[in-house]
């Protein structure tokens, strides 16, 4: 269980997040949506422990988050894969820091490469990969540390539409296979509704929780789900929320 208790973040006079309270149960897939300036990314870096909230508390399994750690994996939009490491050595990074045998490390790296469809590319350098492949490396690298929560900050924002859909299916599958809790930030409402079991809408200026919605779709979701009336009405509902809070701020 990941809990945010009355979290606020101020930068000087600017309030990025105001009094955000959120509970994410084990294994849930949550999407955070909101217009730019709603503090989505700030929220994610607070959970990751890269920043400390001005007030309030973030806790994982009841233990307060005081800094970054491998129990909360993070994937950025730009991936931030290590350009100087091959695919397999990127995935191995977190494991190299742990007291496990070489064979054990290799076994785990092999599994995550297979799971993310990167086995054939294991000796490639990031510069030889496409944008989608690079994001898969970043996700595999985070997952290899077996995080309790996987944090994704607009991971598919820079990808073309077709690649994006492939990656959405990929992420659903990985979530199902690993049972990892996922908190994903996106500004793409369709993506949020397709991926999440739950969509949290953040309002702008200051960033705060505007709506917390459960997605009424089965866990088995082919891409065709996007044409179902339940999907479309849910999407419209979230879009209206995002737009309402965007306009009130503008």
């Amino acid at each position: 269980m990941l809990t945010l208790d009355a979290v606020s973040q101020r930068f000087g006079a600017f309030t990025a997040l105001s009094d955000v309270t959120l509970e994410v149960p084990e294994g849930q897939f949550v999407c955070l949506v909101g217009a730019s300036g709603s503090g989505k990314s700030t929220l994610l870096s607070l959970i990751a422990g890269l920043a400390r909230p001005t007030s309030g508390a973030v806790a994982l399994h009841g233990a307060p988050v005081t800094g970054p750690g491998p129990d909360r994996g993070l994937v950025f939009q730009s991936g931030a894969v290590y350009p100087f490491r091959t695919v397999e050595r990127n995935v191995a990074f977190g494991l190299e820091l742990l007291p496990i045998s070489r064979a054990e490390r290799a076994r785990r790296v092999d599994w995550y490469l297979a799971e993310t469809g990167l086995t054939a590319l294991r000796r490639h350098l990031p510069k030889q990969l496409s944008g989608g492949q690079r994001q898969r490396v970043a996700i595999a690298r985070a997952l290899a540390c077996e995080p309790s929560v996987l944090l994704l900050d607009e991971p598919f924002g820079a990808l073309d539409v077709q690649t994006k859909e492939d990656m959405q299916l990929f992420l659903r599958r990985v979530w199902r296979d690993t049972g990892t809790t996922i908190v994903m930030v996106t500004h793409d409402v369709e993506e949020a509704v397709f991926l999440g079991q739950r969509v949290v809408v953040l309002a702008c200026n200051p960033g705060r929780v505007a709506a917390d919605l459960t997605v009424p779709l089965p866990d088995d979701r082919p891409l065709t789900v996007k044409r179902l009336p339940e999907f479309l009405s849910m999407r419209a509902q979230v879009e209206d929320q995002v737009r309402a809070y965007h306009e009130s701020a503008a």
């Binding site: 870096s45 990751a48 422990g49 890269l50 800094g67 970054p68 750690g69 491998p70 909360r72 994996g73 993070l74 950025f76 730009s78 931030a80 290590y82 350009p83 100087f84 490491r85 990074f93 977190g94 190299e96 820091l97 742990l98 350098l125 990031p126 510069k127 970043a138 690298r141 985070a142 540390c145 944090l151």
Partner: protein, 280 residues
Amino acid sequence: MVETAPARPFSEPLPRRRPASAHRVWAIRAPIPRAYRIALMVASVAVPLIAWFAVSDSGSVPPQFLPSPEAVWQAGLDMARAGTLATDTWASVQRILIGFGLAIVVSVPLGIVMGGFAAGQALFEPVVGLLRYLPASAFIPLLTIWLGIGEPSKVMLLFIGTVFFNTLMTADVVRRVPRAQIDVSYTLGARRGEVLRKVVVPHALPGMIDCVRVNAAAAWNFVVVAELINSEEGLGYRIARSQRFLASDRIFAILVVIAVIGLAIDVLLRLLRDRVGRWV
């Protein structure tokens, strides 16, 4: 809401300029045909060389001022046969290895501290930034007073001439390691030292080799300056000595040797950079 502007208060269409003519060879940042490229590269060396031949052949300049290419070649050959060319070259190279090597040993860790830590930058940048502006050659009299006229003062001149620049340039390279790479490393469980060793240094390494490459050229300059002042051997010493005998053919020959060795160092470091930075 998007506001609508009033109707356009101008109606004449904008004048169009006639299309610019196409530039095949001198288009900005565009590739050129291979044949052009090779021809231009050959001309770059051949034109000055031919001019040199022509001017010295015409006899309009006395050979003490501008020796003929043949005389320079002969002077170089003579020095090589006598063995002085090898000993002089080795003397100069040795000073570089010690002086510039020392500068690298000091400047690389210092640059990493300056580029990697805001505290390191605050602590070292003001003083290093200031010292960099002191011309190394102005230290020669002081170094002679402190260290005498022997090897240590020459090595120190090389050190002073290169250490500050290499520190600041290394710090810049380290500062260019993307923030996200560092942040993500912490979320993968890396500690500060591991982030430095396994992320910052590998990421900055090709750039650091480039800094060394640029400053190796400066080191090569300073060694000649140091030897011009006071020494018993070295390429700079040989130049100073040749001047006393008005042997400009020798001076030219040594300049050619200096240029060739400098180029060789540059190419070697470039190869090393490309090998280390295959991922770039």
